[in-house]
Structure formats: C-alpha cells, structure tokens
C-alpha cells in the first residue's frame, strides 16, 4: 500500500509579485527544448526550468516535497514530461486551486498525487514555502500548524490507480 497521508515540505509557487502563480503552463513546467528526453530519471533536472523565479527548483527540491500553485496548473500541452519531471524528483503531491484538463489525467494516470483545493487563492496567505503540511488523500484534509483546510478527496478511481502505482499496473490488477 502506498501512503494515503503524507507530510512534506511545501514549495509555494509565487510570482515576482509574491502572489500565487495561476495558469502555469506545460511550457513553463517542462520546456519544449527538452521534450526529446524520454528517460524519466533525466527529466527531474528541468522541472519548472522555464518558470520565472523557479529555474533552480530542481536543485532545491527534495524527495517528499509538496508543490502548491494557483488556478489552471498544467494548462496546455499533452506532454507527459510535465508530470514525470515531478515524479523524477520524488515530489509527493501537487496542490492547486485547479488543474489543466489533460494535465490532470496525465497526473492521475501516472500515480502522481494531485489535490484540488478550491478557494486556494483567497487563503494563499496561510501557506509559505518551507512550511510542513500534511495531506490526507482519502478525506482531502490539509493540515498546517493545527489549522485544517478542506481540499477535494481523491476520487475512487484516482485512489485505485495511485495504489496500483499507475494506470497500467491498475489495468493489470483488474485482469
């Protein structure tokens, strides 16, 4: 069983203005010029490499870290690398107010935990980089310094795929 409650160090993706980044697109997460790469292990170094102020994210991130962003995280392209670069770094979850449609499916299928936290923008001030946050996938509860926040719980199929490892392992488990 993979853990359904995780605790990790938070990276709050803020822009130069100090506010939570919205519409972080897949070009910012994993730039076109590295799309040739298909080895997952090689992808981590380019994570967020085209997001202003976060170019060095790959060097600072540690396995188990949690990433937080605003609305429409992962807008744009189909590229799996934009999900796999975080898996390569061992990022344990991405929390955002909302996700791009294809990105959401890619992440769920790859077993990368993504958590939707409605209204995150309004309460962004509660979170800062370096905080230790607990995320409970089954209930969607986020805990920080005793305060709790209500995110959307994993859907059943999201949990099933996550527990199996990824979509294919899940498919195999049904056979």
């Amino acid at each position: 069983m993979r853990p359904t409650t995780i605790t990790g160090r938070l990276w709050v993706l803020t822009g130069p203005d100090g506010k939570l980044y919205d519409d972080i697109d897949t070009d910012m997460i994993f730039h076109n010029r590295y799309l040739h790469i298909t080895e997952i292990e090689q992808m981590g170094q380019y994570a967020l490499g085209n997001l202003e102020g976060w170019e060095d994210f790959a060097h600072k991130a540690r396995p188990g870290d949690i990433v937080m962003a605003g609305k429409n995280f992962g807008a744009g392209s189909s590229r799996q690398q934009a999900v796999d670069c975080f898996r390569a770094l061992g990022v344990s979850a991405i929390v955002a107010e909302s996700f791009g449609a294809i990105y959401k499916r890619n992440a769920i299928n790859s077993g990368l935990p993504i958590v939707t936290l409605p209204g995150l923008t309004e309460m962004a001030g509660e979170f800062k980089t370096g905080d230790t946050v607990e995320v409970h996938f089954e209930t969607g509860q986020l805990t920080l310094d005793g305060k709790t926040f209500r995110a959307e719980p994993f859907s059943q199929v999201q949990m099933d795929i996550y527990q199996a490892g990824d979509l294919f392992a899940y498919g195999k488990s049904l056979e």
Binding site: P16, N106, F168
Partner: protein, 467 residues
C-alpha cells in the same frame, strides 16, 4: 430525448459504464507523433502487450523535423526520437509517414488530408491540438502519453462526459478578417479557462460559410479556451472535402453515399439543451492580435496595449507581468509594435487557404528589410500544391523563406527558433513565454495579418489589401 451532436457521438461509442459516472469510450482513430509516443511504446513493450488495432493508428513525424532540407537531423536526440517512431511503427505494424514520405506533415493536417478524419468518429492523439479534427463533426481530443499507451493496448479510453457549450456566431465576416480572428475573439471573451470542462459546438451562418480548412483553424484553438474539444456539425462543405481526390482512407462510391446519409444526422437536435450558450456578433470584427503571454490576452489591430486593471479574466499582476515580459507599455498602439520575424505555418494556419491569403497580399511586394519571414507548409502535400500554384515563388520573391512541412517555429523544437528578445508575428496557437525560443515574444495573428505585418515591419492591419 433531444440530443446534442456531442451526445450523439458519445452514445455511439460507449463500451461500458462505470459506477462513478465515467465510461469506457471506443476510439476509432489514433494519431501518433514522435514526441508523445516513445514512452508509450516502451511501456507496451515492458508490459508485453501488442497494439490492438494497428490499422486504426496513423503515425507521422512533425514536432522536431528539420524544415530547411530533408537529408539529416542535426540534433542527435531529435534524430533518435524520429528513428524510435520509425522502429516502433515497423515493429507494431503501424502506418508511418516518415521524413521522406510524400504525405509527411503535421499530424492534424495530414489526418484530414488523407481522409483518416471522418465525421462521427472518436479521434485521439497525444497532442493538445487534436481538437482540430472536430471541424468534421468528429469527437477529437488530446490525451497524455499514459493514455496513448492505454489506447494502443485497448483501443479505448476511460473518460467522463464533459458539459456542452454552444458558441453561435452571427453576422457576416468582414473582408480581410478570418477564421483565426473569430476564434481569437472568442478566447478573449471567455478567457483561457472559460471552456474548462466543456466540449464546444460552434454554429451559425458564419461557421457554415467557412471552408473545411478555416473550420479546422477554429476548432484547433478550442483547447486555448481550456475546452476538451470543439465540434462543428458536418454539412455539404464537409462531405465535398471528404469526397475530393487523394483521400485514400475515406470511403468511396456507394460506401461514401451511405456514410453521408448517416453523417447528415450528426447535428444537435433543435431543442437540445446546452449547459452554456454564447452568441458572438462578428459583423464589425477586426483582425485580432495578442499582446501578452496567453491567447486570451488579445485585442483588435486598431486597439492599444491595455492597462493592467482593465483586462477581463486576468489579474492586474498577471497583465503587468506579461507586459514586462513582452516589453510593452499600456497605451501603445498595436500597429506601432515593430516585429523581427514572421512565422506562417502550424496546425492552426499552415494549410493551403492560409498560404494563399498571405500570398495574395505579398504578391509583387517585398517584406520589410528588417523582417525575416519563414513559411512552413503544414504538410508535404500542401507544399506541392502551393508550388503548383506558384505560391512558393511569390513568397521567395517577397523575401520569405520557403520550407518543408513540420511544426517548426510554433514550438521551436527543431532549429527554427527565435533569438532572445526577438518579436514574432506568428500564425500559431500559443504565445506562452519562451514558446518560440528562450525569452522570445509572440503575437498571435491570422495569416493575412502576418503577411501585412511582414511588409510593414510592424503589426499591421490587413484590411487595406481587401478594399
């Protein structure tokens, strides 16, 4: 019960329904390109699976192919990715349009050209601009690599139904204003997430009046409004396109007649309910041009760079950040913005109609000496047809470069890219930061606006050429 076009296609493809409301949907057509497929084949190999229906898959190379010449790929990693698709296609018995194939081109251009894209079908591809094929009344959407593998193995995809959003255009499109301007205008109105959770259906007389190529431009950019897909009900324009010569995968003769009688039913019932509706009057629409780093940051060509506080769907901070990146100031007139490069091409605007309208403007003229212009046809077939019509000569004599087919400078994965700080009037679909090269600036425009701007050396109104 009254059904939308989307409902009709959906119901015909449901294999199985799950308790959580999702369904297993049958996939009629699967398109592949070299960037999002290698990991999928690797996964298939590791799992010891075969491709379930290789006959329903079509593969082409487009994202990182060279466009100057066809004899070598200078970047070794790109060369390996292209070679990998060739190997995978051969191993699994998939049709492959390689670098030297006469029908090679951008995946969303060659699918329709070859008659692979048909009304009423479900089409997927590991590429967000798969929405293009919706112009035929096909339910077409982009998927991720994990799903490419799943579709290869099972010919199905597990998915939830989207909501429906009817976008009705009214009014007659003014001369010099095009399909690209219609869709940019729509994206500006609803914002980059305005279509999230929806499948769009475009309708109205101005849509009916568009050619198939122009309808593809409209559906292509549905995704830039966040929509899952875009649809246009098929009609005589669609059927005539499919019945044209040289569409080897399309039905012929009696099969075609029978197909058309089925396809004629692919319309939303008159009393069908949509979750959202919108009407856009385009009678006085201007050519549209983006000023920021999202396709929703758009205005008319006679407009000005906006103040950060006055842009709907974007916070003042986002706008300010975009303007800093694009080195623009509020109040600047769009037509005063000088450009360094013009790119004509892509799955949005790399078709014959697009090349033709640009060539009409450029005929007998020279592009500005300060501007470099690159013309990249969407497919090798388009390149041949354009050459038969003498368009290549017009472009060359005007001072533009005439290239081979590929995605090219739309996302700069090959060697066609902008230098840092360069500004481009581009007929593509995304103006994200550094999309066309590190620290480069993109203004999304129609092919007509691109051509007029190339001559002027700054963003320019093409309507003066249509009076």
């Amino acid at each position: 019960m009254a059904a939308t076009l989307y409902d009709k296609i959906w119901h015909e493809h449901v294999v199985r329904e799950y308790d959580d409301g999702s369904v297993l949907l049958y996939v009629d057509r699967h398109l592949l390109h070299e960037v999002t497929s290698p990991q999928a084949f690797e996964g298939l190999r590791l799992a010891g699976r075969r491709v379930r229906r290789p006959d329903l898959v079509l593969a082409t190379v487009d994202h990182n192919v060279p466009t100057r010449h066809r004899d070598s790929v200078s970047d070794p990693v790109a060369a390996e990715q292209i070679a990998a698709l060739q190997r995978n296609a051969k191993e699994y018995g998939i049709r492959y349009l390689g670098l030297s194939h006469p029908e090679q081109g951008i995946v969303h251009v060659v699918g329709p050209e070859l008659g692979f894209t048909l009304p009423g079908t479900t089409i997927v591809c590991g590429d967000s601009h798969t929405s293009t094929h919706g112009a035929f009344g096909a339910l077409a959407f982009g998927i991720g690599t994990s799903e490419v593998e799943h579709v290869l193995a099972t010919q199905t995809i597990r998915i939830r139904k989207s909501q429906t959003f009817r976008v009705r255009f009214v009014g007659r499109l003014p001369a010099g204003v095009t399909a690209k301007d219609m869709i940019l205008y729509f994206i500006g109105l609803v914002g980059p997430a305005g279509g999230t959770g929806f499948v769009l259906e475009f309708c109205g007389d101005p849509i009916r009046a568009l050619s198939m190529e122009e309808r593809m431009t409209v559906c292509n950019m549905s995704i830039e409004a966040g929509a899952r897909a875009g649809l246009i009900a098929p009609d005589k324009v669609t059927f005539d396109y499919i019945a044209a010569d040289d569409r080897p995968f399309a039905p012929r003769g009696r099969a075609l007649h029978e197909a058309i009688s089925r396809w004629e039913k692919l319309v939303s019932d008159y009393d069908a309910q949509f979750d959202r509706e919108m009407e856009l009057n385009i009678a006085s629409l201007e050519p549209q041009v983006t000023w920021g780093t999202s396709p929703g940051m758009v205005t008319g060509i006679s407009g000005k760079v906006p103040e950060p506080e006055e842009v709907e769907h974007f916070s003042a901070d986002d706008v300010a950040k975009s303007l800093t990146y694009a080195r623009l100031k509020p109040g600047q007139k769009m037509v005063d913005i000088p450009i360094d490069v013009v790119f004509l091409g892509s799955c949005t605007n790399g078709r014959l109609t697009d090349l033709r309208i640009a060539a009409e403007i450029l005929k007998g003229k020279k592009i500005s000496p300060h501007v470099r212009m690159i013309v990249v046809p969407g497919s090798e077939r388009i390149r041949r047809h354009a050459e038969q019509m003498g368009l290549d000569k017009i472009f060359r004599e005007a001072g533009a470069e005439w290239r081979h087919a590929g995605c090219s400078m739309c996302l700069a994965m090959n060697e066609d890219r902008l230098d840092p700080g360069q500004r481009c009037a581009s007929t593509t679909n995304r103006n994200f930061e550094s999309r066309q090269g590190h620290d480069s600036i993109t203004h999304l425009v129609s092919p007509a606006t691109a051509a007029a701007s190339a001559i002027a050396g700054h963003l320019s109104d093409p309507r003066e050429y249509f009076t």
